[in-house]
Amino acid sequence: MWVAGYLLKRIAFFFLIVLTAATVNFFLPRLSGQDPIRERMIKQVQSGSAWGKGIEEMVEVYNAKFGLDRPLWQQYLTYLGDMARFDLGHSIAFYPKTVKEILREALLWTIGLLTMTTLLSFVFGTFFGALVAWARAPLWLRSLAPPIMTMAAIPYYLLGLIMLFVFAFELRWFPGHGGYRIGTIPNLSWRFFLEALEHSILPALSILLSSLGFWAIAMRGMMVTVEGEDYMTLAEAKGIKSSRLFFDYGLRNAILPQITSLALAMGYVFSGALLVEVVFGFPGIGTVLFNSIKGVDYPVIQGIVLTIILTLATTTLILDLTLPMLDPRIRRQT
């Protein structure tokens, strides 16, 4: 019976988080005191692509078009309504394009790169960390620990720069920029997929290598703690096979905090590797966010932040729903 109440509570909590975050997301950029349309106009005038005369009128027209002339509370209500329909409006920088279109293009790249690397580094890092703490694991495996843990101390964008230098510029094994070759039009073909894969290897590797150690360190710590628990001693005294001791008793208990971290990491997938995307010129969300911050493109920034919030809230919800299945002790408390 706890299930229904628990579910309801979690889902209500999910909406509360999204609403709060969306509200902050609305007011925060407006507090910065910048006037995006005027700034855009001034930039265009400076670059000579628009006439200096009539700027004021144009600003007014555009402000009316984007609804920026109305009182704040009206803007807020409209905003909430739009959010509910997931209508993110138009980009200011790439005007006729909608934010949704921009996000859709970028999201695919980011999901492909970051979801994969996050999951891979979680699986390998966690397993590796558990084995490093396991006295019965082979020595060669445990001797890999120092280099991998050292790698974790290097920020991934720095690792990315190093890789870029070594593998793209010096050795020329992999392309150094973008998600596909210049001149290729993205399409759903096998060839394009391979091309994109080739371009993803370096950014993926730099994220993977630097986050592997992060998972491994956390897991090793947990595993060492679990190994000191009384139930491990008793399980050994029960004559349990080493493999069962490792998986059923050790890993099974030590992995619980890791799952929480994974949910949080998945939520940050879209923002987490911003710098890697920028370093490699990868056409993902990170690059888009970077450019839209530079261009003071409110709707796009808001759209991205909202996406990040939604993914975070969703992964947290998934976590809340799965963790009780993995750890029976949680069921009672909520």
Binding site: E229, D230, Y231, T233, L234, A235, E236, A237, K238, G239, I240, K241, S242, R244, D248, Y249, R252, N253, L256, L326, D327, P328, R329, R332
Partner: protein
């Protein structure tokens, strides 16, 4: 190593369930070698209940873990022999030893609160040990309780039977450890320990985290199931009250050595070794109202152990002989084994009460 293996109660060596000879365990620490268990010898008859008492750090738990061969580095079993039935425990391979655990020698552990895996149901924890003993080797052929060969129905019946034996409802099988009280958890641990009908059960302070009423119930349960399966019990602890009610014989450990092994009645009425005697005099009495007194001094550091008799710095009867000469455990009276130089002098001049 030692020329003459000495063991107490060795008269019926063949019927002994567990026989320990000159067992030595040490820990290699950065500050030196700690001799945690020093030439300990004793044996348990089938079905016997043997109590091992001593202060904290006297090596009781190390001894218990050594019998299971679960001493972790930097600890190491240095020498000695452990015979379980006809098997030389210390000569077994790692895999053979694993199979001997639970099937031949089972543990009821110290921290009952955390001894169960928090994330799996009791049923699974009762069965998984047996599952891993499938196709058991020579040591457990006639136990007939290999879970792997059981059908689901038989397993269910088996779990039900195990729980009933320790006085638990069958529903407990579906529960998780956090849903059980401390006493119930320890009952589950006892059910596990007897699940493969071992010859020896090591109970390492099985009641340490429980209140006195539950303690009594747990000890009663342990006694009942132990008699049912005919296992010998090695009860490790420092609760003399529980010892008096539960065990047949008591071994007193001091700084890693056994100093006296005697039947429980006699050790309480007339302890022979000065340490055992001071220990028992410490027990509060219901009749005499007096301030509680301990044994003066502290147990020695195992890094810098005294020469001769380890107890001599605190012993009221110590002489120069005690300071230089080590004394082996010896059968000074029938069934009574004591390691003391001055036994005759102390006990031939009675009611002198040992304070000179």
């Amino acid at each position: 190593m030692t020329p003459q293996p000495r063991s107490n109660g060795e008269a019926h060596a063949q019927s002994a369930a567990l026989q320990v000879r000159d067992l030595r365990v040490h820990y290699d620490t950065p500050s030196g070698v700690v001799q945690a268990v020093d030439s300990v010898s004793f044996s348990l008859k089938a079905g016997e209940r043997f109590g091992l008492v001593g202060e904290s750090g006297s090596g009781k738990t190390t001894l218990a873990m050594a019998l299971l061969r679960m001493i972790k580095p930097p600890g190491q079993i240095e020498s000695g022999q452990v015979w379980l039935g006809g098997q030389d425990v210390l000569a077994l391979s790692g895999e053979e030893m694993r199979k001997l655990r639970l099937a031949g020698i089972a543990l009821v552990a110290q921290g009952s609160m955390n001894s169960l895996n928090p994330v799996t149901r009791i049923r699974r924890q009762l069965l998984d040990g047996m599952r891993d003993h499938a196709a058991a080797g020579s040591n457990s052929t006639d136990n007939g309780t290999s879970a792997a060969k059981m059908s689901r129905r038989e397993q269910e019946a088996y779990v039900r039977d195990l729980l009933a034996r320790v006085g638990l409802e069958p529903q407990v099988a579906d529960m998780y450890p956090h849903e059980l009280s401390g006493g119930m958890k320890q009952r589950v641990c006892i059910a596990m320990a007897i699940s493969m009908r071992p010859q020896v059960i090591i109970a390492d302070e099985p009641t340490s985290a429980l209140d006195v009423v539950v303690q009594m119930q747990i000890m009663e349960t342990l006694r009942r199931v132990q008699e049912e399966v005919g296992a010998a019990v090695l009860l490790v602890g420092h609760d003399m009250g529980i010892m008096a009610q539960f065990v047949d014989r008591v071994g007193v450990m001091y700084a890693g050595k056994l100093v006296e092994v005697s039947p429980v009645r006699e050790i309480f009425s007339r302890p022979l070794h000065p340490y055992a005697r001071l220990l028992i005099e410490c027990l509060p009495s219901l009749e005499v109202k007096d301030t509680l007194e301990g044994i003066p001094g502290l147990p020695p550091s195992l890094l810098e152990r005294p020469t001769g008799c380890l107890f001599h710095p605190r012993c009221p009867h110590a002489t120069t002989e005690c300071e230089t000469q080590e004394q082996m455990l010896d059968e000074v009276q029938p069934e009574r084994w004591v390691a003391c130089h001055r036994l005759e002098q102390i006990h031939n001049s009675p009611p002198e009460t040992g304070d000179q």
